[in-house]
Symmetry: none
Subunit: 128 residues, 4 copies
DNA sequence: GTGGTCTAGACCACG
DNA sequence: GTGGTCTAGACCACG
């Protein structure tokens, strides 16, 4: 079978975003490549036992962000690799993780300076 | 009813850790306080439709980490607040978020210097 | 062969604790040293004709108490000697023996003063 | 059924002593009383799947120490309660536990003075 | 009722 | 191979 999507009611992330983000991850990681077909919205909705409107919204998000294009009557397909777009999406993910770190740091009463120090500790000279 | 636990099969995090971490969060946030009873292991297992052994494992994790204590025949209860322990757990969470950020940065080809710059941008002078 | 573990159904001590305690003893006495591999959880279970879950529980106890570490795919190994930890474990054993003595003294109707006197008799000037 | 005896190959205590001591415990605790019959040596040997010689030695120990008497062709019976004997046996058990404590203390490098302090801590003012 | 232990099996990830 | 998780059931002690 083709695509593995795992949904979670925990965490509060909307289902359509969970779907879109997991498909983006598979595109970023090269598991889905230019021209590969996505499952039809109706099939995916049936598989995941969710509403067609939800898969539709997920695919719209993928189209708007430039990863996928859909052709009426033919289906949805991964677009040609756009390095600029890939980089932007990956930076967005770095930012999201850093935001989470800042949020946790705020709760923990960690100062900005300490946060930078922790970042260096964890980074451990792995790269410049 | 008392406790809200949301389980997710996505992300690969073991069920017992999801339970333990969500309960820790509620203790850290003061929603569960010293002396408060947790649901019995068997009741929680029934509610979540999982095995008793899995809720037991979650509660063991909470005991080992010092947030909860269980008494045979009595039940499980939130322990007295230990500021040192709370701080350590919160720092652990900051580290986990920073680790995730580093992992994403590595995938994105973001340098350490850029990562620190992004951290400053996001932190936005919110605090020193 | 490597490790000698003797299980007893008498005394009511859980099997996983018997295993953990006997391994701790061998580490305390230097029969098992830093880096030494323990038998795999499944092999030990087979040898002792008990469930894998029980040996796993024993090894978890050893990990939690800091004597052993396990690596998925690799096995379980004795950790580097930690004098502080060794001393704490040995003190725990002294306390356990003294608790047993107090329990017996209570049954025998021996007073605290008499108990101290008996302790001096037995200790017999062996050490200060 | 009458008597519960649990044997252990761990600990190195001879089987005949394990039997004798467990029966003494049941007499001390009043679970076996003056006049109560013990199982025949041959029956007990069969139940425990050990040699008749071993149960015989256990019963000889019980006779010598004054807890039991045997009548050829009739069987073995708990003797009338002898307070002096009970007290001596209980003191022997206190001593055994204290010896174990001293042994552990020696390994732990605990001084005599510290051992007395630990005894007071554990005793906790429970009794004088 | 409560928690505690143990089993015998399954399936997983890692390599 | 290794350890890690989970299940569905059993039986136990405590009260």
């Amino acid at each position: 079978m083709g695509l593995t999507i795992l949904l979670s009611s925990a965490g509060g992330e909307p289902i359509y975003l969970q779907i879109a983000n997991q498909i983006k991850t598979q595109i970023l990681e090269g598991k889905l490549r230019a021209g590969d077909p996505l499952p039809s919205m109706r099939n995916l909705a049936a598989e995941l036992r969710i509403s067609f409107m939800t898969t539709k919204r997920a695919y719209e998000e993928l189209e708007q962000s430039g990863f996928v294009e859909s052709f009426t009557g033919k289906g949805s397909f991964v677009k040609a690799k756009d390095h600029q777009l890939f980089r932007e999406e990956q930076l967005r993910r770095v930012e999201a993780a850093l935001s989470e770190a800042c949020e946790q740091a705020r709760k923990a009463g960690v100062t900005s300076r300490e946060l930078h120090e922790m970042l260096d500790m964890i980074n451990g000279g792995d790269f410049q």
